[in-house]
């Protein structure tokens, strides 16, 4: 077998470094999607479709579009009582997130919803989400 030239070694090293670095950046990629799958999809559906008149949809939901300023607190604290989404009345209590989500996790989750299933909502910054959460006394500043 031929000995590996220095160039091969350098290239291998670079490739390794690139893979290692990619790891740093990909760790939190798709975080919103993952949080949606574990915390939200059982009720709101894998495609944000909701369930008949029991669970409101998040895909093409006028409620999401009209209530931008209340969404972060809704996720952290849950919501109770009747609610109209796309002209359908729903009345199922939504619990607060079953494990703590940080401000940045809520931001990623909201942005996943804003940009999925045909939704084209304006994305959120962490600053905006933290400000909303401060408004309901629930920001963790993370």
């Amino acid at each position: 077998m031929r000995r590996r030239g220095p160039l091969t070694l350098v290239l291998t090293g670079l490739l390794g470094a690139a893979l290692g670095l990619a790891g740093c950046f990909t760790e939190r990629q798709h975080e919103g999607e993952k949080i949606y799958a574990t915390h939200c999809a059982n009720c709101h559906g894998a495609q944000g479709e909701g369930l008949k008149r029991l669970i409101p949809p998040l895909a093409k939901s006028d409620y999401v579009a009209k209530n931008r300023t209340g969404l972060a607190c809704l996720i952290r604290k849950g919501i109770k009582g009747p609610l109209v989404v796309n002209d359908v009345e729903f009345n199922q209590a939504m619990p607060a997130a079953d494990s703590h989500l940080t401000d940045s996790q809520i931001t990623n989750l909201l942005n996943f919803v804003q940009t999925s299933w045909g939704n084209q909502g304006e994305v959120f910054t962490i600053r905006e989400v933290s400000a909303q959460l401060q408004g309901c006394g629930a920001s963790d500043g993370q």
């Binding site: 059982n42 369930l51 029991l54 199922q92 619990p95």
Partner: protein
């Protein structure tokens, strides 16, 4: 070397054995196979010697007698399901964890069989303290179930429900540690007209629910053949 030869011979004979076992499966007439296919009996079975000394009877586990109330306030019992096959599950109306997914999967099965009066559905609430008859009716209507006679949403005293859950092989228990206050599995059970369990499926897994969709016609065919034979 000899050892190697022996292993080779063993491999070859195993392969040959395997093919003889497998090949009939390939060549069997598919329709014929489907016609004779039978679902298993799930649960404990008991072998009872016959008094006349004939071959012993195998007695399969059956669902005990029950008395529940459905979303229309009607009493339902085993008699309600006489001559039918039915699919059952356990849920509660305010369940924030697995129920919506589970009920949407059961809805998928209901939609496939809603034109077939031989198949009924029965969902039990495991939270009878909250899920009154009006709550169950509201839930059923919101799910789009207008005909209570096809899909019963039923309640009974707490102990009755939990004993039934065990009979239907669903794990259900009070657990203050989980969201909603109850821990339960999302199992669906398929019951035949003799009250025997013929299948248990994970209602949270679309592949398992597909298995239920495939099993239902098999059971219906068996029931049809038995009813013909009884005439």
């Amino acid at each position: 070397m000899t050892f190697f030869r022996f292993r080779q011979a063993l491999t070859i004979s195993l392969l040959a054995l395997g093919s003889t076992l497998l090949l009939p499966g390939c060549s069997a007439d598919k329709n014929n196979a489907a016609a004779t296919e039978r679902l298993p009996f799930i649960g404990e079975r008991e072998v009872r010697p016959r008094a006349d000394g004939g071959p012993a009877d195998t007695v399969y586990a059956t669902i005990p007698a029950f008395r529940l109330t459905n979303q229309d306030g009607k009493v339902i019992t085993n008699q309600t399901f006489a001559g039918k096959v039915y699919v059952t599950d356990f849920f509660f109306a305010t369940c924030p964890s697995i129920c919506p997914k589970m009920q949407s999967e059961l809805l998928r099965v209901y939609d496939k069989f809603k034109g077939d009066p031989r198949v009924l559905f029965l969902s039990h609430t495991i939270d009878p303290a909250h899920d009154s008859i009006p709550v169950l009716r509201d839930y059923a209507q919101r799910l789009g179930i207008a005909d209570a006679a096809r899909w019963h949403f039923a309640t009974a005293p707490h102990d009755t429900i939990f004993a039934l859950a065990r009979a239907y092989m669903t794990a259900a228990q009070v657990d203050k540690g989980v969201a909603g206050g109850f821990a339960h599995s999302g199992a669906f059970a398929l019951i035949d007209p003799q009250r025997r369990i013929r299948g248990v499926y994970d209602g949270m897994n679309p592949l398992e629910v597909q298995r239920l969709l495939d099993d239902l016609p098999v059971l219906l065919r068996e029931v049809e053949q038995e009813q013909k034979a009884a005439k």
